[in-house]
Chain length 208, copies 2
DNA sequence: CCAGAATGGATAGTCAAACTCTCCGTTATG
DNA sequence: CATAACGGAGAGTTTGACTATCCATTCTGG
């Protein structure tokens, strides 16, 4: 197919497709002459993935580029997912050193008591957790951190489900892509379900 | 206190504080003369809250404005939290009509089988869920939706914890603010815990 | 009391991200 | 073979979130 059809099929405007080609997010089409190219369904899928990562995952295009090269590379699923989570988490917001230290300590307790592996503070999920917990403290909301262990236990249950959903696929490539999609969409889906559930519970507990 | 101290105390640059004042995100200080003002600890707290909403919650300033006027208003906690969730969820990404219809149907099944109240498709969390599920389908990932019921059950457990954390506060104002903070930080904290847990589980199941 | 720093307020400028527009020479097509 | 579409490159646009510069006061330390 050529540009117009690729655009129609994917729902991405022609000008934007050209822009993605320039940025290297979309691989160039196969040349049929010095200045004509043909695109395949792989290009359509790639565009859909880019849309999912930006629209649903909220990733900046620069991160999308990093993620796409990661899944195109031939690293292990584990390493590749590390890159994905790094980009998905984004840069952690800055917080005061004192609060950060307290939060780091609190998280160390948690991982120790749950038998989880310790992580360096540069680890993306870790850095974001530290920032979020530190912010909670700075805002004077300790309740959330007091219950951290209970949240962690439920997070573990969710993670087990996540891995079940992704595991059982045949090839490493499929596991990587499924993992990517499950991570990007999974966060948003769970957040949505949680909000819905909060309304149910708060209706019962706090009253309409 | 005056500008310089307010800035130092909150960690927000003077120019930015002025900008927030102009935008109406921060209420003006108390006048001490026609062109001088004095600020209070309430201003410091407000600035910290704005920082949390933008940095941690990732909200655009326009949404922060809406949220702040909502919590300053005198609506019930339930209505106020509705506004908060609306802004937090943001505009749902657009998806094809066919996929959206399928996702809406799937969600109707879910809410029915869990005995949850049905929601209009304009409902923020609902619209985002529809978009996320529709995207999963468009990307050819059905596994996630097949297990939706299990995720919903866990989301319910998390929501119960959320409400426990917030309930038990004395005044409606405190409940509203705690709810806001719990929602904003809670999503990010749970996502972080989930990522950490995913690594533990995938290490065991998929191997290093 | 007064010189120099700080303040409040207004206007304009900056910067990055993510497109979108306009050309242009070449290629396909009815 | 006229004309519509294409690929490629560069400049322009829009939005969001600041940041910088002025200026006419107002405060403050010596």
């Amino acid at each position: 197919m050529r540009m117009a059809e690729l655009s129609a099929e994917s729902g991405v405007p022609v000008a934007t497709v050209k822009f993605y080609l320039r940025e290297g997010l979309l691989p160039p089409g196969e040349r049929t002459s010095p200045n004509q190219a043909r695109y395949s369904v792989a290009h359509v899928q790639r565009l859909r993935l880019i849309k999912a990562l930006t629209d649903v995952g909220g990733l900046p295009l620069a991160s999308v580029g990093v993620v796409l090269s990661a899944i195109d590379g031939d690293e292990t699923p584990h390493r590749t997912m590390g890159v994905v989570q790094q980009e998905l988490a984004g840069p952690a917001p800055k917080v005061s050193d004192a609060a950060a230290e307290w939060a780091t300590e609190r998280l160390a307790d948690l991982t120790r008591s749950h038998g989880w592996k310790a992580h360096a503070p540069e680890h993306a999920a870790m850095a974001n957790l530290v920032a979020a917990l530190a912010t909670a403290k700075e805002l004077g909301h300790d309740k959330l951190t007091e219950r951290l262990g209970e949240y962690a236990r439920l997070a573990m249950r969710v993670a087990e489900l996540d891995v079940e959903v992704v595991a059982g696929l045949s090839s490493a490539d499929k596991i990587i892509e499924a993992g990517l999609i499950a991570t990007v969409l999974g966060d948003r889906i769970f957040a949505g379900l949680r909000h819905l559930a909060q309304e149910q519970v708060s209706r019962d507990v706090l009253g309409g």
